[in-house]
Subunit: 232 residues, 2 copies
DNA sequence: CCGGTCAATTGATATTTATCAAGAGGCTAG
DNA sequence: CTAGCCTCTTGATAAATATCAATTGACCGG
Protein backbone atom coordinates (compact mmCIF):
# COMPACT_ATOMS: atom_id res chain seq x y z
CA UNK A 1 0.00 0.00 0.00
CA UNK A 2 1.40 3.36 -1.04
CA UNK A 3 2.18 5.63 1.91
CA UNK A 4 0.59 8.62 0.16
CA UNK A 5 -2.85 7.03 0.28
CA UNK A 6 -2.85 6.38 4.00
CA UNK A 7 -3.34 10.02 5.12
CA UNK A 8 -6.23 10.40 2.67
CA UNK A 9 -8.00 7.43 4.16
CA UNK A 10 -7.16 8.42 7.69
CA UNK A 11 -8.81 11.79 6.99
CA UNK A 12 -12.16 10.20 6.20
CA UNK A 13 -14.78 10.85 8.86
CA UNK A 14 -15.04 7.11 9.23
CA UNK A 15 -11.42 6.66 10.34
CA UNK A 16 -10.58 10.10 11.71
CA UNK A 17 -11.31 9.52 15.39
CA UNK A 18 -10.07 6.01 15.93
CA UNK A 19 -6.83 5.24 17.77
CA UNK A 20 -3.56 4.99 15.85
CA UNK A 21 -3.17 1.39 16.91
CA UNK A 22 -6.54 0.39 15.60
CA UNK A 23 -6.07 2.26 12.36
CA UNK A 24 -2.76 0.56 11.77
CA UNK A 25 -4.35 -2.79 12.53
CA UNK A 26 -6.89 -2.04 9.83
CA UNK A 27 -4.34 -0.94 7.27
CA UNK A 28 -1.82 -3.68 7.90
CA UNK A 29 -3.55 -6.22 5.70
CA UNK A 30 -5.08 -3.65 3.37
CA UNK A 31 -3.80 -3.18 -0.16
CA UNK A 32 -4.45 -1.00 -3.19
CA UNK A 33 -5.66 -2.13 -6.57
CA UNK A 34 -5.29 0.01 -9.67
CA UNK A 35 -7.99 -0.93 -12.11
CA UNK A 36 -8.93 0.06 -15.67
CA UNK A 37 -12.48 1.22 -16.50
CA UNK A 38 -15.29 -1.30 -16.65
CA UNK A 39 -13.95 -3.77 -14.12
CA UNK A 40 -16.49 -5.36 -11.83
CA UNK A 41 -15.37 -5.18 -8.20
CA UNK A 42 -18.12 -7.45 -6.95
CA UNK A 43 -21.54 -8.64 -7.93
CA UNK A 44 -24.82 -8.49 -6.06
CA UNK A 45 -25.28 -11.64 -4.01
CA UNK A 46 -21.53 -11.94 -3.32
CA UNK A 47 -20.28 -12.00 0.24
CA UNK A 48 -18.20 -9.00 1.31
CA UNK A 49 -14.63 -10.21 1.81
CA UNK A 50 -13.30 -6.66 1.74
CA UNK A 51 -14.40 -3.17 2.56
CA UNK A 52 -13.73 -1.12 -0.59
CA UNK A 53 -12.51 2.47 -0.38
CA UNK A 54 -12.42 4.51 -3.60
CA UNK A 55 -9.27 6.62 -3.47
CA UNK A 56 -9.15 7.73 -7.08
CA UNK A 57 -11.40 7.40 -10.12
CA UNK A 58 -15.07 6.54 -9.73
CA UNK A 59 -17.23 3.50 -9.16
CA UNK A 60 -20.77 2.76 -10.28
CA UNK A 61 -23.12 0.85 -8.01
CA UNK A 62 -25.80 -0.88 -10.04
CA UNK A 63 -28.46 -3.53 -9.68
CA UNK A 64 -30.05 -6.05 -12.01
CA UNK A 65 -33.34 -7.82 -12.20
CA UNK A 66 -34.87 -9.90 -14.90
CA UNK A 67 -32.47 -8.78 -17.59
CA UNK A 68 -32.68 -5.07 -16.76
CA UNK A 69 -29.96 -3.04 -15.11
CA UNK A 70 -30.14 0.26 -13.26
CA UNK A 71 -27.50 2.58 -11.86
CA UNK A 72 -28.06 3.16 -8.16
CA UNK A 73 -25.21 5.50 -7.28
CA UNK A 74 -21.88 6.86 -8.47
CA UNK A 75 -19.19 6.80 -5.79
CA UNK A 76 -16.52 9.49 -6.00
CA UNK A 77 -13.25 9.64 -4.00
CA UNK A 78 -12.64 9.50 -1.16
CA UNK A 79 -15.48 7.26 0.04
CA UNK A 80 -16.25 3.76 1.20
CA UNK A 81 -18.52 1.41 -0.70
CA UNK A 82 -21.47 -0.30 0.99
CA UNK A 83 -20.26 -0.49 4.50
CA UNK A 84 -23.61 -1.97 5.51
CA UNK A 85 -23.05 -5.33 3.84
CA UNK A 86 -19.54 -5.59 5.28
CA UNK A 87 -20.70 -4.98 8.83
CA UNK A 88 -23.67 -7.31 8.63
CA UNK A 89 -21.66 -9.93 6.75
CA UNK A 90 -24.67 -10.06 4.45
CA UNK A 91 -24.68 -10.44 0.66
CA UNK A 92 -24.22 -7.29 -1.43
CA UNK A 93 -27.50 -5.90 -2.72
CA UNK A 94 -25.72 -4.00 -5.48
CA UNK A 95 -22.86 -4.70 -7.87
CA UNK A 96 -19.92 -2.36 -8.40
CA UNK A 97 -17.77 -1.56 -11.42
CA UNK A 98 -15.13 1.05 -12.18
CA UNK A 99 -16.17 3.83 -14.55
CA UNK A 100 -12.64 5.06 -15.12
CA UNK A 101 -9.13 4.08 -14.13
CA UNK A 102 -9.43 3.83 -10.34
CA UNK A 103 -7.49 3.15 -7.18
CA UNK A 104 -9.40 1.01 -4.73
CA UNK A 105 -8.20 0.20 -1.23
CA UNK A 106 -9.30 -3.20 -0.01
CA UNK A 107 -9.57 -3.75 3.74
CA UNK A 108 -10.36 -7.31 4.85
CA UNK A 109 -13.91 -7.48 6.21
CA UNK A 110 -12.88 -9.56 9.20
CA UNK A 111 -10.51 -6.81 10.29
CA UNK A 112 -13.23 -4.17 9.92
CA UNK A 113 -15.65 -6.18 12.01
CA UNK A 114 -13.01 -6.89 14.63
CA UNK A 115 -11.97 -3.27 15.03
CA UNK A 116 -15.62 -2.27 14.98
CA UNK A 117 -16.27 -4.58 17.93
CA UNK A 118 -13.39 -3.25 20.01
CA UNK A 119 -13.09 0.45 19.16
CA UNK A 120 -15.96 2.60 20.34
CA UNK A 121 -14.86 5.67 18.40
CA UNK A 122 -14.85 3.67 15.20
CA UNK A 123 -18.27 2.21 15.99
CA UNK A 124 -19.67 5.70 16.48
CA UNK A 125 -18.09 6.93 13.26
CA UNK A 126 -19.64 3.99 11.45
CA UNK A 127 -23.05 5.05 12.77
CA UNK A 128 -22.56 8.54 11.39
CA UNK A 129 -21.61 7.13 8.02
CA UNK A 130 -24.49 4.64 7.90
CA UNK A 131 -27.03 7.22 8.99
CA UNK A 132 -25.83 9.42 6.13
CA UNK A 133 -26.14 6.56 3.63
CA UNK A 134 -29.64 5.79 4.84
CA UNK A 135 -30.70 9.40 4.55
CA UNK A 136 -29.28 9.63 1.02
CA UNK A 137 -31.39 6.63 0.06
CA UNK A 138 -34.50 8.20 1.56
CA UNK A 139 -33.88 11.34 -0.47
CA UNK A 140 -33.35 9.31 -3.62
CA UNK A 141 -36.61 7.48 -3.08
CA UNK A 142 -38.52 10.70 -2.49
CA UNK A 143 -36.99 12.06 -5.70
CA UNK A 144 -38.18 8.98 -7.60
CA UNK A 145 -41.68 8.78 -6.17
CA UNK A 146 -42.60 12.45 -6.05
CA UNK A 147 -41.07 13.91 -9.20
CA UNK A 148 -41.35 13.42 -12.94
CA UNK A 149 -38.25 12.52 -14.92
CA UNK A 150 -37.80 16.09 -16.15
CA UNK A 151 -38.11 17.43 -12.62
CA UNK A 152 -35.51 14.93 -11.41
CA UNK A 153 -33.16 16.08 -14.14
CA UNK A 154 -33.71 19.76 -13.36
CA UNK A 155 -32.95 19.19 -9.70
CA UNK A 156 -29.93 17.07 -10.56
CA UNK A 157 -28.57 19.98 -12.56
CA UNK A 158 -29.15 22.37 -9.68
CA UNK A 159 -27.27 20.04 -7.35
CA UNK A 160 -24.13 20.10 -9.50
CA UNK A 161 -21.21 22.02 -8.06
CA UNK A 162 -20.56 25.27 -9.84
CA UNK A 163 -23.91 25.50 -11.60
CA UNK A 164 -24.71 28.62 -9.61
CA UNK A 165 -21.55 30.42 -10.75
CA UNK A 166 -22.37 32.48 -13.79
CA UNK A 167 -18.76 31.91 -14.82
CA UNK A 168 -19.56 29.36 -17.48
CA UNK A 169 -20.79 25.90 -18.32
CA UNK A 170 -20.20 22.82 -16.19
CA UNK A 171 -19.14 19.46 -17.55
CA UNK A 172 -21.34 16.38 -17.29
CA UNK A 173 -18.58 14.04 -16.24
CA UNK A 174 -20.33 10.77 -16.85
CA UNK A 175 -21.93 9.09 -19.83
CA UNK A 176 -25.41 10.41 -20.48
CA UNK A 177 -26.84 6.91 -20.50
CA UNK A 178 -25.47 6.37 -16.98
CA UNK A 179 -27.00 9.66 -15.93
CA UNK A 180 -30.29 8.56 -17.46
CA UNK A 181 -30.19 5.28 -15.57
CA UNK A 182 -29.25 7.05 -12.33
CA UNK A 183 -32.24 9.35 -12.76
CA UNK A 184 -34.55 6.45 -13.56
CA UNK A 185 -35.18 7.08 -17.25
CA UNK A 186 -34.06 5.89 -20.66
CA UNK A 187 -31.29 7.64 -22.62
CA UNK A 188 -33.85 8.72 -25.23
CA UNK A 189 -35.95 10.30 -22.53
CA UNK A 190 -32.97 12.13 -21.09
CA UNK A 191 -32.30 13.72 -24.48
CA UNK A 192 -35.88 14.90 -24.68
CA UNK A 193 -35.91 16.08 -21.08
CA UNK A 194 -32.83 18.20 -21.76
CA UNK A 195 -34.64 19.71 -24.74
CA UNK A 196 -37.65 20.50 -22.57
CA UNK A 197 -35.39 22.29 -20.08
CA UNK A 198 -34.25 24.60 -22.86
CA UNK A 199 -37.47 26.49 -22.13
CA UNK A 200 -36.03 27.15 -18.69
CA UNK A 201 -32.67 28.37 -19.86
CA UNK A 202 -30.67 25.14 -19.92
CA UNK A 203 -28.18 25.08 -22.78
CA UNK A 204 -26.48 21.80 -23.61
CA UNK A 205 -23.72 21.16 -26.07
CA UNK A 206 -22.24 17.71 -25.82
CA UNK A 207 -20.97 17.31 -22.28
CA UNK A 208 -21.07 21.05 -21.56
CA UNK A 209 -24.13 22.31 -19.74
CA UNK A 210 -25.07 25.82 -18.72
CA UNK A 211 -28.04 27.13 -16.78
CA UNK A 212 -28.41 30.60 -18.25
CA UNK A 213 -31.56 31.47 -16.28
CA UNK A 214 -31.14 30.07 -12.80
CA UNK A 215 -34.31 31.62 -11.31
CA UNK A 216 -36.39 30.11 -14.12
CA UNK A 217 -34.80 26.69 -13.61
CA UNK A 218 -35.41 26.92 -9.86
CA UNK A 219 -39.04 27.87 -10.45
CA UNK A 220 -39.47 24.76 -12.55
CA UNK A 221 -37.40 22.38 -10.40
CA UNK A 222 -38.69 23.51 -7.00
CA UNK A 223 -35.71 22.11 -5.08
CA UNK A 224 -36.08 21.39 -1.37
CA UNK A 225 -33.32 20.77 1.16
CA UNK A 226 -35.20 17.66 2.33
CA UNK A 227 -34.46 15.99 -1.01
CA UNK A 228 -31.68 17.93 -2.63
CA UNK A 229 -29.28 19.00 0.08
CA UNK A 230 -26.73 16.24 0.51
CA UNK A 231 -25.16 17.35 3.78
CA UNK A 232 -28.16 17.22 6.11
CA UNK B 1 -44.73 4.52 31.51
CA UNK B 2 -46.54 1.21 31.95
CA UNK B 3 -44.27 -1.53 33.33
CA UNK B 4 -45.65 -4.03 30.82
CA UNK B 5 -44.16 -2.13 27.93
CA UNK B 6 -40.64 -2.04 29.28
CA UNK B 7 -39.79 -5.73 28.65
CA UNK B 8 -41.09 -5.46 25.08
CA UNK B 9 -38.76 -2.58 24.39
CA UNK B 10 -35.88 -4.18 26.23
CA UNK B 11 -36.31 -7.22 23.96
CA UNK B 12 -35.70 -5.18 20.80
CA UNK B 13 -32.37 -5.96 19.15
CA UNK B 14 -31.53 -2.30 19.61
CA UNK B 15 -31.73 -2.41 23.42
CA UNK B 16 -31.12 -6.08 24.13
CA UNK B 17 -27.39 -6.01 24.77
CA UNK B 18 -26.95 -2.76 26.65
CA UNK B 19 -26.31 -2.61 30.36
CA UNK B 20 -29.22 -2.42 32.80
CA UNK B 21 -27.99 0.92 34.09
CA UNK B 22 -27.92 2.48 30.66
CA UNK B 23 -31.29 1.05 29.73
CA UNK B 24 -32.82 2.47 32.87
CA UNK B 25 -31.21 5.83 32.15
CA UNK B 26 -32.90 5.77 28.76
CA UNK B 27 -36.30 4.78 30.11
CA UNK B 28 -36.32 7.14 33.08
CA UNK B 29 -37.50 10.14 31.10
CA UNK B 30 -39.39 8.12 28.51
CA UNK B 31 -43.16 8.06 28.43
CA UNK B 32 -45.98 6.46 26.49
CA UNK B 33 -48.58 8.21 24.39
CA UNK B 34 -51.81 6.53 23.35
CA UNK B 35 -53.03 8.11 20.16
CA UNK B 36 -56.10 7.77 17.95
CA UNK B 37 -55.73 7.15 14.19
CA UNK B 38 -54.62 9.93 11.92
CA UNK B 39 -52.47 11.83 14.39
CA UNK B 40 -49.28 13.30 13.03
CA UNK B 41 -46.32 12.47 15.28
CA UNK B 42 -43.93 14.78 13.50
CA UNK B 43 -43.51 16.46 10.17
CA UNK B 44 -40.60 16.39 7.74
CA UNK B 45 -38.21 19.22 8.49
CA UNK B 46 -38.87 19.01 12.25
CA UNK B 47 -36.00 18.42 14.62
CA UNK B 48 -36.06 15.08 16.45
CA UNK B 49 -36.73 15.80 20.12
CA UNK B 50 -37.65 12.17 20.80
CA UNK B 51 -36.87 8.74 19.50
CA UNK B 52 -40.24 7.13 18.77
CA UNK B 53 -40.88 3.45 19.42
CA UNK B 54 -44.10 1.93 18.09
CA UNK B 55 -45.33 -0.49 20.75
CA UNK B 56 -48.85 -1.06 19.48
CA UNK B 57 -50.84 -0.04 16.43
CA UNK B 58 -49.09 1.13 13.25
CA UNK B 59 -47.48 4.26 11.91
CA UNK B 60 -47.17 5.53 8.36
CA UNK B 61 -44.02 7.31 7.22
CA UNK B 62 -44.77 9.61 4.32
CA UNK B 63 -43.21 12.44 2.38
CA UNK B 64 -44.53 15.44 0.50
CA UNK B 65 -43.33 17.54 -2.35
CA UNK B 66 -45.09 20.15 -4.37
CA UNK B 67 -48.55 19.21 -3.19
CA UNK B 68 -48.11 15.48 -3.69
CA UNK B 69 -47.75 12.94 -0.92
CA UNK B 70 -46.33 9.43 -0.98
CA UNK B 71 -46.23 6.66 1.60
CA UNK B 72 -42.66 5.59 2.24
CA UNK B 73 -43.10 2.85 4.82
CA UNK B 74 -45.54 1.35 7.31
CA UNK B 75 -43.99 0.72 10.73
CA UNK B 76 -45.42 -2.18 12.72
CA UNK B 77 -44.72 -2.96 16.41
CA UNK B 78 -42.32 -3.30 17.98
CA UNK B 79 -39.95 -1.01 16.08
CA UNK B 80 -38.21 2.33 16.28
CA UNK B 81 -38.93 5.17 13.89
CA UNK B 82 -36.13 6.89 11.97
CA UNK B 83 -33.27 6.43 14.31
CA UNK B 84 -30.99 8.08 11.76
CA UNK B 85 -32.39 11.58 12.24
CA UNK B 86 -32.26 11.24 16.03
CA UNK B 87 -28.62 10.23 16.06
CA UNK B 88 -27.51 12.87 13.59
CA UNK B 89 -29.67 15.50 15.20
CA UNK B 90 -30.72 16.31 11.67
CA UNK B 91 -34.22 17.26 10.45
CA UNK B 92 -36.66 14.44 9.69
CA UNK B 93 -36.83 13.60 6.00
CA UNK B 94 -40.23 11.97 6.43
CA UNK B 95 -43.39 12.71 8.37
CA UNK B 96 -45.19 10.18 10.57
CA UNK B 97 -48.84 9.64 11.42
CA UNK B 98 -50.76 6.92 13.21
CA UNK B 99 -52.90 4.65 11.02
CA UNK B 100 -54.79 3.15 13.93
CA UNK B 101 -55.02 3.59 17.68
CA UNK B 102 -51.37 3.30 18.71
CA UNK B 103 -49.05 3.29 21.67
CA UNK B 104 -45.87 5.23 21.06
CA UNK B 105 -42.96 5.36 23.47
CA UNK B 106 -41.06 8.64 23.38
CA UNK B 107 -37.43 8.64 24.47
CA UNK B 108 -35.72 12.04 24.66
CA UNK B 109 -33.20 12.38 21.83
CA UNK B 110 -30.55 13.85 24.12
CA UNK B 111 -30.67 10.74 26.27
CA UNK B 112 -30.35 8.50 23.23
CA UNK B 113 -27.33 10.40 21.97
CA UNK B 114 -25.75 10.44 25.40
CA UNK B 115 -26.14 6.71 25.98
CA UNK B 116 -25.00 6.11 22.43
CA UNK B 117 -21.79 7.99 23.14
CA UNK B 118 -21.01 6.08 26.32
CA UNK B 119 -22.31 2.54 25.77
CA UNK B 120 -20.39 0.52 23.18
CA UNK B 121 -22.92 -2.30 23.09
CA UNK B 122 -25.68 0.16 22.31
CA UNK B 123 -23.57 1.82 19.62
CA UNK B 124 -23.00 -1.54 17.97
CA UNK B 125 -26.68 -2.42 18.17
CA UNK B 126 -27.50 0.90 16.54
CA UNK B 127 -25.19 0.01 13.68
CA UNK B 128 -27.01 -3.26 13.13
CA UNK B 129 -30.34 -1.45 13.09
CA UNK B 130 -29.16 1.30 10.75
CA UNK B 131 -27.53 -1.14 8.37
CA UNK B 132 -30.84 -2.98 8.19
CA UNK B 133 -32.75 0.25 7.49
CA UNK B 134 -30.29 1.19 4.77
CA UNK B 135 -30.58 -2.20 3.12
CA UNK B 136 -34.38 -2.02 3.22
CA UNK B 137 -34.21 1.29 1.40
CA UNK B 138 -31.88 -0.16 -1.23
CA UNK B 139 -34.31 -3.00 -1.81
CA UNK B 140 -37.23 -0.59 -2.08
CA UNK B 141 -35.36 1.48 -4.63
CA UNK B 142 -34.47 -1.59 -6.71
CA UNK B 143 -38.14 -2.58 -6.59
CA UNK B 144 -39.15 0.87 -7.87
CA UNK B 145 -36.56 1.21 -10.60
CA UNK B 146 -36.51 -2.32 -11.99
CA UNK B 147 -40.13 -3.44 -11.85
CA UNK B 148 -43.46 -2.36 -13.31
CA UNK B 149 -46.29 -1.52 -10.95
CA UNK B 150 -47.98 -4.86 -11.50
CA UNK B 151 -44.73 -6.69 -10.80
CA UNK B 152 -44.27 -4.71 -7.60
CA UNK B 153 -47.77 -5.65 -6.52
CA UNK B 154 -47.24 -9.34 -7.33
CA UNK B 155 -44.05 -9.41 -5.29
CA UNK B 156 -45.70 -7.52 -2.46
CA UNK B 157 -48.35 -10.22 -2.32
CA UNK B 158 -45.72 -12.96 -2.26
CA UNK B 159 -43.99 -11.22 0.65
CA UNK B 160 -47.12 -11.27 2.82
CA UNK B 161 -47.04 -13.69 5.72
CA UNK B 162 -49.28 -16.66 5.22
CA UNK B 163 -49.73 -16.26 1.48
CA UNK B 164 -47.91 -19.56 0.92
CA UNK B 165 -50.30 -21.51 3.21
CA UNK B 166 -53.04 -23.00 1.11
CA UNK B 167 -55.22 -22.62 4.20
CA UNK B 168 -57.12 -19.61 2.93
CA UNK B 169 -57.10 -15.96 2.04
CA UNK B 170 -55.01 -13.32 3.79
CA UNK B 171 -56.30 -9.93 4.81
CA UNK B 172 -54.95 -6.73 3.33
CA UNK B 173 -54.72 -4.87 6.62
CA UNK B 174 -54.29 -1.37 5.29
CA UNK B 175 -56.31 0.90 3.06
CA UNK B 176 -55.84 0.09 -0.59
CA UNK B 177 -54.97 3.66 -1.41
CA UNK B 178 -52.13 3.51 1.15
CA UNK B 179 -50.95 0.28 -0.41
CA UNK B 180 -51.07 1.95 -3.82
CA UNK B 181 -49.00 4.86 -2.58
CA UNK B 182 -46.52 2.52 -0.88
CA UNK B 183 -46.10 0.63 -4.15
CA UNK B 184 -45.71 3.85 -6.11
CA UNK B 185 -48.97 3.90 -8.06
CA UNK B 186 -52.42 5.48 -7.98
CA UNK B 187 -55.42 3.74 -6.37
CA UNK B 188 -57.02 3.35 -9.79
CA UNK B 189 -53.93 1.62 -11.06
CA UNK B 190 -53.86 -0.73 -8.07
CA UNK B 191 -57.42 -1.83 -8.86
CA UNK B 192 -56.44 -2.58 -12.43
CA UNK B 193 -53.20 -4.29 -11.41
CA UNK B 194 -55.17 -6.60 -9.12
CA UNK B 195 -57.45 -7.44 -12.03
CA UNK B 196 -54.46 -8.24 -14.22
CA UNK B 197 -53.12 -10.61 -11.55
CA UNK B 198 -56.37 -12.58 -11.78
CA UNK B 199 -54.74 -14.23 -14.82
CA UNK B 200 -52.12 -15.55 -12.42
CA UNK B 201 -54.53 -16.93 -9.87
CA UNK B 202 -54.97 -13.95 -7.55
CA UNK B 203 -58.51 -13.71 -6.20
CA UNK B 204 -59.54 -10.54 -4.39
CA UNK B 205 -62.75 -9.84 -2.57
CA UNK B 206 -62.71 -6.63 -0.57
CA UNK B 207 -59.81 -6.91 1.83
CA UNK B 208 -59.50 -10.69 1.42
CA UNK B 209 -56.84 -11.87 -0.99
CA UNK B 210 -55.94 -15.38 -2.06
CA UNK B 211 -53.21 -16.66 -4.35
CA UNK B 212 -54.80 -19.80 -5.72
CA UNK B 213 -51.96 -20.63 -8.12
CA UNK B 214 -48.74 -19.84 -6.33
CA UNK B 215 -46.38 -21.25 -9.00
CA UNK B 216 -48.07 -19.11 -11.65
CA UNK B 217 -47.82 -15.99 -9.49
CA UNK B 218 -44.14 -16.72 -8.82
CA UNK B 219 -43.49 -17.19 -12.54
CA UNK B 220 -44.97 -13.77 -13.17
CA UNK B 221 -43.44 -11.98 -10.16
CA UNK B 222 -39.95 -13.50 -10.36
CA UNK B 223 -39.09 -12.71 -6.73
CA UNK B 224 -35.44 -12.53 -5.71
CA UNK B 225 -34.00 -12.57 -2.20
CA UNK B 226 -31.93 -9.52 -3.07
CA UNK B 227 -35.11 -7.45 -3.27
CA UNK B 228 -37.82 -9.39 -1.51
CA UNK B 229 -36.27 -11.12 1.47
CA UNK B 230 -36.47 -8.76 4.40
CA UNK B 231 -34.11 -10.53 6.78
CA UNK B 232 -30.89 -10.42 4.79
C1' DC C 1 -6.29 9.10 -43.05
C1' DC C 2 -9.83 5.80 -43.12
C1' DG C 3 -13.17 2.55 -41.41
C1' DG C 4 -15.43 0.76 -37.56
C1' DT C 5 -17.63 1.15 -33.28
C1' DC C 6 -20.55 3.15 -30.14
C1' DA C 7 -22.90 6.92 -27.65
C1' DA C 8 -26.22 10.37 -28.53
C1' DT C 9 -30.05 12.17 -30.87
C1' DT C 10 -34.41 12.30 -33.40
C1' DG C 11 -38.72 10.50 -35.15
C1' DA C 12 -42.51 7.23 -35.03
C1' DT C 13 -45.06 4.28 -32.33
C1' DA C 14 -46.51 1.40 -28.38
C1' DT C 15 -47.06 0.78 -23.64
C1' DT C 16 -47.58 2.22 -19.13
C1' DT C 17 -49.34 5.18 -15.92
C1' DA C 18 -52.05 9.16 -14.41
C1' DT C 19 -56.10 11.97 -14.49
C1' DC C 20 -60.89 12.97 -14.72
C1' DA C 21 -65.55 11.53 -14.11
C1' DA C 22 -69.15 8.73 -12.52
C1' DG C 23 -71.24 5.13 -9.99
C1' DA C 24 -71.45 1.24 -6.44
C1' DG C 25 -70.97 -0.24 -1.93
C1' DG C 26 -69.96 0.10 2.89
C1' DC C 27 -69.43 2.50 7.18
C1' DT C 28 -70.88 5.79 10.60
C1' DA C 29 -73.08 9.64 13.02
C1' DG C 30 -77.21 11.37 14.13
C1' DC D 1 -82.83 3.52 10.05
C1' DT D 2 -81.09 6.67 6.98
C1' DA D 3 -78.34 10.38 4.93
C1' DG D 4 -73.97 11.56 4.00
C1' DC D 5 -69.34 10.59 3.45
C1' DC D 6 -65.63 8.10 1.83
C1' DT D 7 -63.26 4.31 -0.40
C1' DC D 8 -63.06 1.46 -4.12
C1' DT D 9 -63.97 0.39 -8.77
C1' DT D 10 -64.73 1.08 -13.67
C1' DG D 11 -64.64 3.59 -17.99
C1' DA D 12 -62.82 7.17 -20.97
C1' DT D 13 -59.15 9.99 -21.98
C1' DA D 14 -54.66 12.31 -21.51
C1' DA D 15 -49.97 12.45 -20.34
C1' DA D 16 -45.64 10.35 -19.41
C1' DT D 17 -42.45 7.08 -20.51
C1' DA D 18 -40.50 3.19 -23.12
C1' DT D 19 -39.40 0.88 -27.32
C1' DC D 20 -37.94 0.44 -32.00
C1' DA D 21 -35.55 2.22 -35.92
C1' DA D 22 -32.56 5.18 -38.28
C1' DT D 23 -29.15 8.75 -38.47
C1' DT D 24 -25.47 11.64 -36.81
C1' DG D 25 -21.17 12.50 -34.92
C1' DA D 26 -17.26 11.65 -32.06
C1' DC D 27 -13.48 8.75 -30.87
C1' DC D 28 -10.03 5.06 -31.67
C1' DG D 29 -7.12 1.60 -33.76
C1' DG D 30 -5.03 0.19 -37.72
Amino acid sequence: MRPTEIPEIRALALFRDMSDDQFEALMRAAYVQTLPPGIELFHEGDRPDFLHVVVEGSVELFAEWSGHETTMQIVQPVATIILAATLRDAPFLMSARTLERSHIVLVPSDDVRQVFASDGAFARAVVGELAGCYRSMVKAQKDLKLRSSTERLANWILRQDGIADRAGPITIDLEKRKLASLLGMTPENLSRALNRLADHGVVVEGKELQASDLPALRRFARPTPLIDQHDI
